[in-house]
């Protein structure tokens, strides 16, 4: 079957109207218009199942975890650890203890940079990233390199917004200790060939960290198939609560890494002379976490699996094709990011109209998009624009949403030119 045919087959039976009923916020209005939410790459809306799961924790099973001998604490611990197992399965991890629950991908990158990075990167060593990265996959490495006297290398991207693989390979050197790159670009939607990049990095002896924040809601992830060493995603982008997320790391690496934050839950014993660390993953989880949020993240992953990532991806791919055509038909619109492999991201500029003005006009039509640099200023610089307007798709979007977007962009064009 061709990819197109298999995509079409996967969309058969995908009932977008039923999916829409799962998201209470889609019944709200903005400036008197029905909400058209095209900003899921910034943060996804929540289905009823996630809202109910979080509420249920507080109503029937909330207490601190990993501590109490009482029934509620055990219920909460059990539910939290089930969510961890859920995240492990979602990523194709071998064991739950390879999953560190964190506030999100940003915290995960910082953990790897601070714990793995500080023990493995020294003066004269190199860290390799790409020109596609979100600030959260740039700055933690800059901090590390500055502290260690190491050099940050950046593999460039081409005019379509794809990483130049030949340059990536060239930039890997015997001094490269770790490379960190996005699975999917937040600003452009480019899907990176992560398996190939991982092979190249491992051949050069570098560890591999993947920022999966934009991949988790759209692609099936299998960390063992990719072969990477660390992989992180954020709960709030995959229809779960904000300030939840997971880092997967190979057990043998996590075992060797020092803790990066000290506190309760991360120790096995404490005296004033010396403390010993808890086992993984708890060694990396100091303090009381977002308990109800973590449990609800499990519900979000269940929800995504229930719809089926293949079906979601096929649905979004059809919408992306439609939206690309509709925007391209508007004279003066230039799409930024035209990679062959893309998730549902439409980043664009319109001649003579600033993205913020497009965003405000669309807002008055009830349409939410993101405008600005998307926390990826180097990507904007690469394309010579200060900012773009970005419409991003989710499982509940429809062709009508994209028609509304096109109408709104035309309206902005009429108003400002």
């Amino acid at each position: 079957m061709t990819p197109r045919a298999s995509a079409l087959r996967a969309t058969i039976g995908y009932d977008v109207e039923a999916v829409r009923r799962d998201f209470p916020i889609l019944r709200t209005t903005v400036h008197g218009k029905p909400l058209v939410y095209l900003d899921s790459a910034a943060s996804a809306q929540k289905p009823q199942a996630v809202i109910d799961a979080e509420r249920a924790v507080y109503e029937t099973g909330y207490a601190n975890i990993h501590r109490g001998v009482h029934e509620l604490s055990m219920r909460a611990t059990d539910a939290y650890e089930k969510a961890r197992a859920r995240a492990a399965a979602f990523l194709g991890a071998r064991e739950s203890r390879e999953i560190v629950f964190l506030r999100g991908t940003t915290e995960a990158v910082n953990l790897v940079a601070q714990s793995f990075g500080r023990t493995n990167v020294g003066p004269g060593d190199e860290v390799l990233i790409t020109g596609l990265e979100h600030h959260s996959n740039i700055v933690p490495w800059q901090l590390l390199c500055e502290e260690k006297g190491a050099a940050l290398r950046v593999a460039p991207i081409d005019d379509a917004g794809e990483v130049d693989l030949a340059a990536f390979e060239r930039l890997l050197s015997p001094r490269t200790r770790i490379t960190s790159f996005a699975h999917v670009s937040n600003a452009l939607g480019t899907v990176n060939p992560v398996r190939r990049m991982t092979e190249l990095a491992h051949a050069a002896g570098a560890a591999v960290m993947i920022d999966g924040a934009q991949a988790a809601p759209h692609l099936r992830i299998d960390v063992r198939e990719i072969g990477c060493d660390f992989y992180a995603f954020s709960g709030h982008k995959v229809y779960g609560p904000s300030a939840t997320g997971a880092l997967w790391g190979r057990a043998e690496l996590l075992e060797k890494m020092p803790p990066w934050q000290g506190g309760g839950d991360m120790i096995s014993s404490v005296t004033f002379e010396k403390s010993t660390w808890n086992q993984i993953p708890f060694k990396f989880e100091a303090g009381t976490p977002n308990i109800a949020g973590g449990i609800a993240l499990g519900a979000a992953l269940d929800y995504v699996d229930q719809l089926g990532l293949a079906a979601i991806a096929a649905h979004e791919a059809e919408l992306l094709r439609h939206g690309t055509e509709r925007l391209r038909a508007i004279p003066g619109v230039r799409l930024v990011g035209t990679a062959r492999e893309k998730t549902g991201v439409l980043s664009f500029v319109l001649d003579g109209v600033h993205p913020h003005d497009i965003g405000t006009v669309l807002d008055y039509e009830g349409i939410a998009i993101r405008t600005g640099h998307h926390c990826a200023q180097p990507v904007m610089d690469r394309f010579g624009v200060p900012a773009t307007a970005r419409a991003s798709l989710a499982c509940f979007n429809t062709r009508e949403d994209l028609e509304a977007l096109a109408r709104g962009v035309l309206k902005a064009k009429e108003l400002f030119t």
Binding site: Y364, H373, P386, A387, L415, F416, T417
Partner: protein, 151 residues
């Protein structure tokens, strides 16, 4: 569309499409570059003072319609004004775009003149920085700072 027109009044659209005093000024006695990192807007403001009177004022840069129109209308408002007038106008304008939107009409001090068109901005907290970029940059130029940001 009506609410949208409150923000994008005709005079604002006019100045954003055809900005006035949009030029460099080699003979400027004061200049500064302003940057709004949130949206990437940049503005350079040039001033030529004689004594404490602004004889000429211009700007260059790229930004959204609000920031372009605000810079353009600011240059028109400042020509011929004394430094004392400028300080008053700065404060009045700042008050106009940052105070309670429901009192926007009362907040438009008479000396603002056409600048009162920016009253709609206070409804959009995220756009306040767009409207004030040129003003902050102008103030930085007069204070002898070469660069400023809206942060």
């Amino acid at each position: 569309m009506d609410e949208l027109r409150e923000l994008y009044q005709e005079v604002i659209l006019d100045h954003s499409k055809r900005p006035r005093n949009f030029r460099e000024m080699p003979e400027a006695s004061h200049r500064a570059e302003g940057y709004n990192p949130l949206c990437g807007d940049r503005a350079t403001v040039y001033l030529r003072l004689e004594g404490d009177v602004i004889r000429d004022v211009s700007f260059k840069g790229a930004g959204c319609s609000i920031s372009t129109a605000s810079a353009s209308m600011m240059t028109e408002a400042l020509r011929g004004k004394t430094l004392g007038d400028v300080r008053t106008l700065f404060d009045r304008f700042h008050h106009l775009v940052t105070s309670d939107p429901s009192r926007a009409a009362q907040n438009a001090a008479p000396e603002l003149g056409k600048l009162a068109a920016f009253s709609g901005v206070s409804e959009f907290p995220i756009r306040v920085k767009c409207a004030s970029l040129a003003w902050h940059t102008m103030k930085a130029a007069l204070d002898g700072e070469a660069k400023t940001t809206t942060e």
